[in-house]
Symmetry: C2
Subunit: 458 residues, 2 copies
């Protein structure tokens, strides 16, 4: 899926038309980061890096795009420039699945000013979606305490792109698979499916519907028990399990999609066990999220796996991340990079080319992060890696399985309080002494040069 270069905010084009005329040689560095964590999040799982890099690598306007842009009265020289444009900058980014906190650059772009500006919105859009979903999914995975979580969100995800990316991002975060067939094909993630209530209803009796399914899929039947009543449902399922057993097959599982999942699952587990079907799994679904799953597990509901749809697929309690894309340095007339920052109430940004270092304690648990200048030597894991060099991809470690393991490893190294699903708590993110000093210096410079923040109107 290539992205049209026209997918951008119009102001990116108007600003670049000015840059092209007034500062065609200028370069700049932009940081993409989350300004503030969503209310109920103590950490984020950065995701979407691969698609963001591929977008940059393949960025170019089609002939018909340029033709379309003529209607806006841009100068012909600018349109000619756009027609030949490629992305030739350097990009540093965190690895897919890196746990990040607010203010930490997820991606750092150093490129000709126009190029860096034109790609803003798609970079934000890409990282925003997948980071929101991966972060929500990680919470659900933590709540499930090792039980399998499946993505069932296609029908309620915000569009087709979102549905595919939700399957992918939740898999990276630790989900076991997805019901989305196309996502399975595109990303190589496991595909899962059961049956719907309408399926059961389309037969004269529930028993007939179960029997037909078991005939066609004797090795992989998961029977939905709540179309009419759990009592009847489990009775019919036991009959099917017996019939399958006679043919040397095992009923794979039963699915509970409504009602009191704890009570029903306990009863159903008992009926299954008493009838010698201790290996039949119980899958739960129906409006699940991390809180419900945590509660179910806490009260001992014998559930083996969870199908999670809407709540994970749209990250319902935090359907976006506060991702922003801010300039941190720009070249002066001599071509040297000069750090810059935004000085606005509660919305200051950090100047200069930065790196994030993650520090562990003696036991290997993550202790704190330090945002520092790129040139600083700090004992810790540098989170930003060079991924594009002059527009060329120089990093290719994007195996989903690797990213998934990486998320799991990081979650193990995180302090427990950060993994708690209750009130959000802060992980310690410091600024290095040199960065703090640069902040002061650049801030003073801006105040002297141009600004009068805090002054009153005349």
């Amino acid at each position: 899926m290539t992205v049209s270069a026209l997918l951008m905010d119009f102001y990116e084009l108007t600003m670049c038309a000015v840059y092209f005329a007034y500062k065609p040689q200028a370069w700049a560095t932009f940081d993409l980061f989350v300004r503030k964590l969503p209310e109920d999040r103590s950490f984020l799982v950065a995701c979407g890096i691969k698609e963001a890099l591929l977008y940059l690598k393949n960025f170019s306007f089609a002939r018909e795009d340029i033709k379309y842009l003529k209607k806006f009265n841009f100068r012909p020289a600018f349109l000619n420039y756009l027609a030949g444009l490629k992305f030739t900058g350097d990009v540093w980014a965190v690895k897919e699945g890196t746990i990040v906190f607010e203010q930490e650059p997820i991606m750092r772009i150093t490129a000709p000013l126009c190029q860096a500006q034109l790609v803003e919105s798609v970079l934000l859009n890409t990282i925003n979606l997948q980071t929101a979903i991966a972060s929500k999914a990680a919470r659900i995975i933590l709540a499930a305490e090792g039980r399998a979580v499946y993505d069932f969100s296609l029908r309620r995800a915000q569009g087709q792109d979102a549905a595919l990316k939700a399957a992918k991002a939740s898999y990276i975060a630790g989900a076991a698979g997805s019901s989305n067939v196309l996502a399975g094909k595109m990303f190589g993630i496991p595909t899962i499916g059961t049956m719907a209530h309408s399926y059961v209803m389309s037969f004269d009796t529930e028993m007939e519907s179960f029997q037909a399914y078991a005939d066609i899929f004797p090795k992989q039947s998961i029977l939905l028990l709540d179309t009419y009543s759990y009592k009847k449902g489990i009775k019919n399922a036991i009959t099917i399990a017996r019939r399958l057993k006679r043919k040397r097959f095992n009923l794979s599982g039963v699915r509970l999609d409504s009602g009191d999942l704890a009570r029903e699952s306990k009863r159903i587990r008992k009926v299954l066990d008493e009838n010698g079907f201790g290996k039949v799994k119980i899958v739960a679904s129906g409006d699940l999220d991390e809180y419900k799953i945590k509660r179910l597990i806490k009260i001992g509901a014998p559930l083996d796996s969870f199908g999670v749809g809407t709540k994970m697929g749209v990250s319902v309690d935090a359907p976006y991340c506060d991702v922003i894309y801010k300039i941190s340095e720009i070249t002066d007339k001599q071509g040297g990079f000069v750090p810059t920052m935004k000085l606005s109430q509660h919305k200051n940004t950090l100047p200069g080319r930065k790196q994030v270092f993650r520090i562990r304690d003696k036991k290997g648990t993550y202790k704190k992060d330090i945002i520092a200048l790129e040139t600083e030597k700090i004992k810790g894991i540098p989170l930003l890696l060079k991924m594009l060099d002059k527009g060329r991809l120089v990093y290719d470690d994007f195996s989903l399985k690797m990213s998934r393991k990486f998320v799991s490893r990081q979650l193990k190294s995180m302090p427990h309080r950060i993994k708690d699903l209750g009130k959000s708590v802060s992980f310690s993110v410091e600024q290095s002494v040199k960065l703090k000093s640069l902040v002061r210096k650049v801030g003073r410079g801006i105040l002297e040069l141009d600004c009068c923040a805090g002054e009153k109107y005349d």
Copy 2:
């Protein structure tokens, strides 16, 4: 943008494999509707009908899709059947932009059972997204009381598809345009853009940045005033406005993106007016939603238009609709349609082939809706129209401008209490006597035949 037929939930394929083997001749009717309105909504604006119909019209598996499906051990005859499959059903749907309430069918599909089942998830996905966004946008449009609202949501929308559909759905709901360039091209909606803080910061002084912009876009400059301070910003903007005036151009507007928008806009309006620039518009942006806009207008903020991003583009307080797709009739062995329904706690569905009639009072205001059987004659506007006939599109009134006018007309005819943005209130949606009687009859039949809802476990 064609949709891959593989974009589906896996259970749609497994269920169809069973249907294909056991009831290849069966037909069914499914209703797509919203089970329950989101907490803070009193009405929804149904949207996405066009894309849903085009998906059905073009539905078919590519050769490589069939090849891919072989890995799941489906029977060859079933895969052959899929390879030749087209959608040949009849579809009734509400017009794009129709105001709907819970339980009212937005779309009614009558088709061979397999076909109707395979398309479930994409239909839900398509209508869910656009209905969620159009419904949120309609609230924001109402709050703006005639002032222009622009979609600025590309960067925070849930993916690329969502960003494009958000621009389209909000335009249908009444937005004046979008910053999304590709959406402008694809849907023919007005494109708008200003400048970013990083643009202003990329120049040595704010004044230089304004001057350069005005040089390139003398007819369409909207200057961003809050990069350093509003006081300095408006002073510089006045200077630019004067310079433009000397060249017989008018400064188009100024944009306020942070701080106390009411206080700042009043001050800035005053400065503009005192300097003879009464026609320069003030655009507000920055984390806006219907509540903030309503408050700004209530306290007399002299704002001319609003750029609304995230909150509208992800429908942040209700990022999904509770859309479901439920079977309402199925053919028996003789091929006659038999009504059916789901009998589950709080989740009953309505059987039979239905129509929705909207009733006005004497003044023309919408009074109530009646969900009835299709065959009933009821004096009211029938909301469902035939749009696909045996898979062929027989309706083509999808002009965005027409849909937009239709939304505006309906909003005018809605009772005031429904348009209030406070607590959600119910519009009266009744079931016809015949429908109620069918519900009782079908319900009794299911209970006798198969079910023992409410009984205890043995």
